[in-house]
């Protein structure tokens, strides 16, 4: 088998552009340009559940004991300061009706400024940073806001095809009031030249949906002599039980 090249992936991405997004904007689990999907997506249709008493209409709860005050500052987890461009990332977590998701857990993980993850399986020749782990957590406030201080991650190579590079991104994990609203996604940085080459970002084939994965640079969130500010708002998909809303 000949080596898979960027040209081949580009062609596959172009063929699938605008396809299958439907209303949700979520990627199809069957998206061949991202080769690891091939054996890891179900072939049978999902079975629909419309039970108003389904356990999944409720969900896990978290509280003050589950986070510490330092968890949302990824630049203060070691004795020294990490290398890289200091940034703050903030936004609101809302449900499909625009209501804030309150007091829920937000988790992030990312590569360091050189594009290296603190993970045994990331062994490409970029330096680790002894002052950066790249993990953070916080709870949303009463208006659904989250906030992290970190450094801008670097792009990194992967082996989907020859010369494959991931655009810089921060991984995010969100909980809503219901397990059905669970979301794991990735935040990208505006204007990254790697966007068109990346099958993971391009798996979101609808242009406007894909744009929702890209943060906005916000000068009013930048702090003088300190950090650059980005805003990324989240809308969680999926139904929730109406009886669960109060008191959460």
């Amino acid at each position: 088998m000949s080596e898979l090249r960027q040209d081949d992936i580009d062609r596959e991405i172009a063929e699938l552009a605008g396809s299958g997004a439907g209303g949700s904007g979520h990627p199809s689990r069957d998206y061949a340009p991202y080769r690891s999907t091939l054996l890891r997506h179900p072939l049978q249709p999902l079975v629909s559940i419309k039970d108003p008493e389904a356990a999944e209409l409720a969900g896990p709860v978290f509280g003050a004991t589950d986070v510490t005050a330092l968890d949302n500052d990824l630049t203060r987890q070691h004795l020294g300061e990490p290398l890289g461009e200091r940034i703050t990332v903030t936004g609101r977590v809302l449900d499909r009706d625009g209501r804030p998701v309150r007091g829920q857990l937000v988790e992030v993980w990312q590569a360091n400024a050189s594009g290296r993850y603190l993970h045994q399986r990331d062994d490409h020749p970029a330096p680790l940073d002894p002052n950066f782990t790249g993990v953070g957590r916080c709870l949303t406030d009463d208006d659904g806001w989250y906030r992290f201080t970190t450094i801008k991650p670097g792009a990194y190579p992967w082996r989907n095809h020859r010369n494959a590079w991931r655009p810089a991104h921060i991984h995010f994990s969100f909980f809503g009031t219901a397990f059905t609203q669970r979301l794991v996604s990735q935040m990208y940085f505006p204007g990254d030249p790697l966007f068109p080459y990346d099958p993971i970002l391009q798996s979101v084939t609808d242009d406007s949906a894909r744009q929702r994965l890209v943060a906005t640079y916000r000068h009013d969130l930048s702090q003088p002599e300190w950090s650059l500010g980005y805003r990324w708002d989240i809308v969680l998909d999926g139904p929730a039980a109406t009886w669960m809303e109060e008191g959460r």
Binding site: S24, G25, H26, P27, R29, Y31, S36, L39, R40, H41, P42, L43, Q44, L46, V47, S48, E53, A55, E56, A58, G59, P60, V61, F62, G63, A64, T65, D66, L70, D71, L94, R96, D97, G98, E107, V108, W109, Y117, R121, D122, G134, R137, H171, S173, F179, L183, V184, S185, Q186, I200, L201, S203, V204, R210, R212, L213, V235, L236, D237, G238
Partner: protein, 174 residues
């Protein structure tokens, strides 16, 4: 409002999402365990499973404290064992194996959310421990993919097949 699209959890969540005791929702009850397989039958060593369930009485309110922290070191010290949090999280090991210790839920099933490298949008399934009207509505040949098999007293086996002949039934709540 238009939802934020899902993206894969990728291969490198391991130092961020799993936490000590993540699979010990409650001790002294049952053990549920199994393997995650891909469409070629190979184990999936980089899947992350999340579990959400009612307590023994069917109470679905959940409680905080799954990730309870030591205020001195910041380390995860986990559930204090008095409240039932209802939430668990386990990464598969190099064999694609996972283990959950919990109690049998009063409503009959444990909800599972599956994440993995190569999975662009998580999948939901359920672990049932016996008969249920929902199972009865499924084709007979697929029904068994949602039912845990009791291997010995208190130890239940539940394998997840992402694709193929033994493909697990996955659920949609939209």
């Amino acid at each position: 409002m238009n939802p934020t699209p899902s993206q894969t959890v990728g291969p490198f969540y391991g130092y961020a999402l799993p936490f000590p005791g993540g699979g010990d929702i409650a001790l002294g009850g049952i053990t549920v365990h199994g393997y995650v397989h891909d469409g070629a039958g190979a184990p999936v060593p980089d899947a992350l499973l999340e579990f959400w369930q009612a307590d023994e009485h069917g109470d679905l309110r959940g409680r905080p404290g799954s990730l309870r922290r030591d205020p001195v070191t910041g380390a995860v010290i986990g559930r204090h064992g008095v409240d039932f949090t209802g939430f668990g999280r386990v990464a598969t090991d190099a064999d694609g194996h996972w283990t959950l210790r919990t109690v049998r839920p009063g409503n009959g099933y444990i909800s599972v959310c599956v994440f993995a490298r190569g999975l662009l949008h998580h999948l939901y399934t359920r672990i049932y421990f016996g008969q249920d009207a929902f199972l009865d509505a499924l084709p007979a040949e697929r029904r068994q993919t949602l039912v845990a098999v009791e291997e010995r007293q208190g130890v239940h086996r539940f394998d997840i097949h992402l694709q193929g002949e033994k493909e697990t039934v996955f659920l949609d709540f939209g």
